[in-house]
């Protein structure tokens, strides 16, 4: 009996467990998935929790519900991977042998990387919304906040879901308007990038929206520390931005177990072939989702597209066939823009987000890079799709793994 081991039962790991449970012959393969947690969090919901749009029960479920019966779920903390021995050591010292390993241990926020961030004011006047605890604490703060200067801040790239902080700023504008206190709130968006987003075409559209919503943007801000006694962010050049309420996206890092296993780069991401998703160092290790260092967005949609290609590659690897170098970096993201509207962007390694229609060329109904109500409905409907289709590895109708080029207005990206 051969062993296939999946580390991490988040979005990426759960999808792989479901795909492989269908595809692998149970006479030959035993599938085990390991995670120390018991809850599965719908991470896109963290954006809505602070604004009382979602309730905690909308976004938290038991991991067990989504792992198929044919797969062995092991709840344990993982100490390290021992790639030379093809084994994984658990916290209690027990070792699990594998023939094939999938790393899906994700990324986490690392507020400890910025001096002053995680000190006395953490979850008092300084909040994150990339954790369940952070988003919930922020909801409670916003319910009673009387106004002042709200700073929405990105510490450094890359981060999970790079559009989420922008969406947060847009939803904050909408939230305070609704509470009839927008005039009491100044919103400032502080970013290490030179504009609102990483891709020029989307940046132009998003810069325009920020301006429309009276959100001031501070670009090229490389934070050195937070002076929480003075309520100010300080950057390496000495520039300061003051705040009354700071909502920050801390540095993101891969799981510490990657560092313990000495398998990561300077941010604990595993060097991975960006087209085949095979680890660069070990042939029988594959890396999926936020845990890898591939230059694609760290987002559930990316993990979803990766999972379909990785499933095929694992079957090929088992048969001794060459891997398909098919992953194109495809990402598909709704961007909430407030007031019940959203944008939709679709892009990959070589193509920038463009205008057009999705998923049907020329028809839509969703429109790329344009604000619309139906895009917002799409984003809300996605929660149902996530729990009921995506995690279970059900193919989402009409949405292809590689990016489609028809129905879109493109320019190639120069790289």
């Amino acid at each position: 009996m051969k062993q296939l081991l999946i580390l991490g039962a988040g979005t990426a790991g759960t999808m792989m467990a479901n795909h492989l449970n269908h595809e692998l012959d149970k006479k030959d393969w035993k599938i085990t998935i390991v995670d120390e947690r018991t809850k599965h969090y719908y991470q896109p919901g963290y954006l809505f929790l602070p604004f009382d749009i979602y309730e905690p029960s909308d976004i938290v479920k038991e991991i067990e519900e989504f792992i198929p019966k044919g797969v062995n779920l092991l709840k344990s903390k993982i100490d390290r991977i021992l790639p030379k021995e093809n084994s994984v050591r658990l916290e209690d010292g027990k070792e699990l042998h594998y023939d094939l390993l999938i790393i899906a241990t994700g990324a986490r926020i690392a507020p400890e990387e910025t001096p002053g961030m995680q000190d006395e004011e953490w979850h008092k006047s300084i909040f994150d919304f990339y954790t369940y605890e952070g988003a919930l604490a922020l909801r409670n703060k916003l319910r009673n906040w009387e106004g002042g200067k709200l700073v929405v801040h990105i510490t450094e790239m890359p981060i999970k879901c790079p559009v989420a902080p922008l969406e947060f700023a847009f939803l904050a504008d909408s939230y305070f308007k609704h509470k009839k206190m927008r005039d009491k709130v100044e919103i400032v968006y502080v970013t290490p990038l030179s504009g609102a987003f990483t891709k020029p075409k989307a940046t132009a559209a998003l810069d325009h929206l920020l301006h429309d919503k009276n959100i001031h943007i501070e670009t090229d801000f490389a934070i050195e520390s937070i002076d929480y006694a003075k309520n100010a962010l300080v950057d390496y050049s000495g520039r300061e931005v003051s705040y009354d309420l700071l909502v920050t996206v801390p540095t993101n890092k891969g799981d510490d177990l990657i560092a313990r296993s000495e398998m990561g780069d300077e941010l604990n991401y595993v060097p991975t072939n960006k087209a085949t998703l095979q680890s660069q160092a070990h042939q029988n290790i594959f890396v999926l989702g936020d845990a890898s260092n591939i230059p694609a967005s760290k987002a559930g949609s990316v993990a979803h597209f990766e999972a379909e290609i990785l499933t095929e590659n694992i079957l090929r690897f088992i048969k001794g066939e060459p891997l398909k170098a098919d992953f194109d970096g495809h990402a598909n993201c709704f961007i909430e823009t407030g007031n019940g509207k959203a944008l939709l962007i679709d892009f990959n390694y070589t193509h920038e987000p463009v205008e057009g229609t999705f998923p049907f060329p020329g028809i839509g109904p969703l429109r790329l890079l344009k604000e619309s109500r139906i895009n917002h409905m799409g984003k809300l409907a996605f929660r149902w799709i996530y729990w009921n289709m995506l995690l279970k590895g059900t193919h989402i109708p009409f949405v292809s793994t590689s990016m489609q080029e028809s129905g879109k207005h493109y320019e190639e990206v120069e790289n």
């Binding site: 891709k199 090229d220 050195e224 230059p295 967005s297």
Partner: protein, 104 residues
């Protein structure tokens, strides 16, 4: 869109943001001229950083501020002092290597 720029009596090709298109056009005079345009006089410390960046580029290492800061060559703080306002963007331009692709 590229354009030709004269440095001394040498013609070099740069892109719309002023980055060299072909590293073989680069030499110390080119570096000094680009540095002057952003009011930097290149000192020994600047050169150590520029050499490091060029070396990383040759090894096809994707550059970011964190990597430079943890290299042991220069701290992030000093990097900002040497090349104020977007040190990585400025330093790569002077070093004649491409602007680091923004992470996604």
């Amino acid at each position: 869109m590229t354009q030709t720029k004269m440095i001394g009596n040498k013609a070099i090709t740069v892109n719309e943001e002023g980055y060299l298109v072909d590293f073989s056009h680069w030499d110390k005079q080119v570096a000094e001229t680009i540095a002057k345009e952003v009011n930097i006089d290149l000192s020994q410390r600047h050169w150590e950083v520029l050499n490091f960046l060029q070396d990383q580029h040759k090894k096809e290492v994707a550059l970011n501020i964190r990597k430079v800061g943890s290299s042991g060559v220069v701290s992030i703080k000093e990097f900002y002092t040497l090349f104020p306002q977007g040190p990585l963007k400025t330093a790569t331009k002077i070093a004649g290597i491409p602007k680091p692709a923004s992470c996604i």
